[in-house]
């Protein structure tokens, strides 16, 4: 517990290229949210967004940090990576746009759906990036909001 408002706060490290463990963070978060009795439709949205964000770090960055915190009103993820970054964020947010290599595509990813999927599943989403340095994602889900 980090401060009064936070019910829960977890920090995870992600290693770029570590495909074997990709998805572990998302499933851990999913389990935690289930145990806490968060409604299933929201858990699913959060898990999908977390998984896409996790995969992005594994695919495109050297290293990343995934912070998960839960307050009485929000689920909050921040994902910060050291990696190639994104030149044109507007373009990267378009469905189908991808810079993935053939190798990544063969793994079933790199369809250009990752960032749009994160945005679609979250209630609030912000992205910033510095090419050559890394990318930062700020993702929120509201616990008391009607399903979209």
């Amino acid at each position: 517990m980090k401060n009064k408002e936070n019910v829960l706060s977890q920090h995870y490290e992600i290693n770029g290229g570590d495909f074997s463990n990709a998805g572990n963070i998302s499933t851990q978060i999913k389990e935690t949210l289930k145990e806490l009795g968060i409604r299933s439709s929201l858990i699913r949205r959060a898990a999908i967004a977390a998984y896409e964000a996790e995969m992005n770090v594994v695919m495109y960055a050297h290293q990343g940090q995934f912070q998960f915190s839960l307050t009485p009103s929000t689920i909050h993820f921040t994902v910060k990576d050291l990696g190639i970054g994104i030149e044109d964020i507007e373009l990267a947010m378009q469905e189908g746009y991808s810079t993935a290599t053939e190798e990544l595509r063969e793994m079933g990813f790199g369809a250009g759906m990752g960032l749009p999927n994160i945005k679609r599943n979250s209630d609030q989403f912000q992205i910033s990036s510095t090419p050559g340095k890394g990318t930062f994602l700020d993702i929120f889900f509201y616990l008391n909001q009607r399903e979209k």
């Binding site: 998805g23 998302s26 998984y51 995969m55 079933g108 999927n117």
Partner: protein, 123 residues
């Protein structure tokens, strides 16, 4: 449709989850692109795929798929099978290709996830 029926229609081999074949699926979807699966998948889906790595099973877990069918005679890799066993998701493997597999299931009354979505949108 029970998973047993899916197995029969696709002449599939059960890779794991033999004891869960009486469970029912009510819709299906097929893709090799996991990001597409994450975008269109709904809980309870029967997921057909030709992608055999661990991520195919992981994706099924994230979207809460009921079962996985690998087409073109494929099976998940060792890590994938281990993960499927751990999370308790039945895995079938059929020698039919994607189009044929989907066709057999559709023809026998198993609708696609997209049809389900269109119905919901109409409401």
């Amino acid at each position: 449709m029970t998973l047993k029926k899916v197995k029969e229609l696709l002449q599939a081999e059960v890779v794991c989850g033999e004891s869960q074949l009486d469970e029912e699926v009510t819709f299906a979807g097929g893709s090799d692109l996991m990001s597409d699966v994450l975008a269109f998948g709904k809980p309870g889906i029967l997921l057909l795929t030709g992608l055999t790595n661990r991520q195919s099973v992981r994706t099924a877990e994230i979207i809460e798929a009921k079962a996985l069918v690998y087409v073109r005679g494929k099976k998940p890799d060792k890590e994938g099978i281990e993960l499927a066993k751990k999370i308790g998701i039945p895995v079938l493997s059929t020698h039919y290709m994607m189009y044929t597999s989907c066709g057999f299931l559709f023809k026998n009354g198993l609708p696609g996830v997209s049809l389900l979505r269109e119905k919901e949108d109409e409401k």
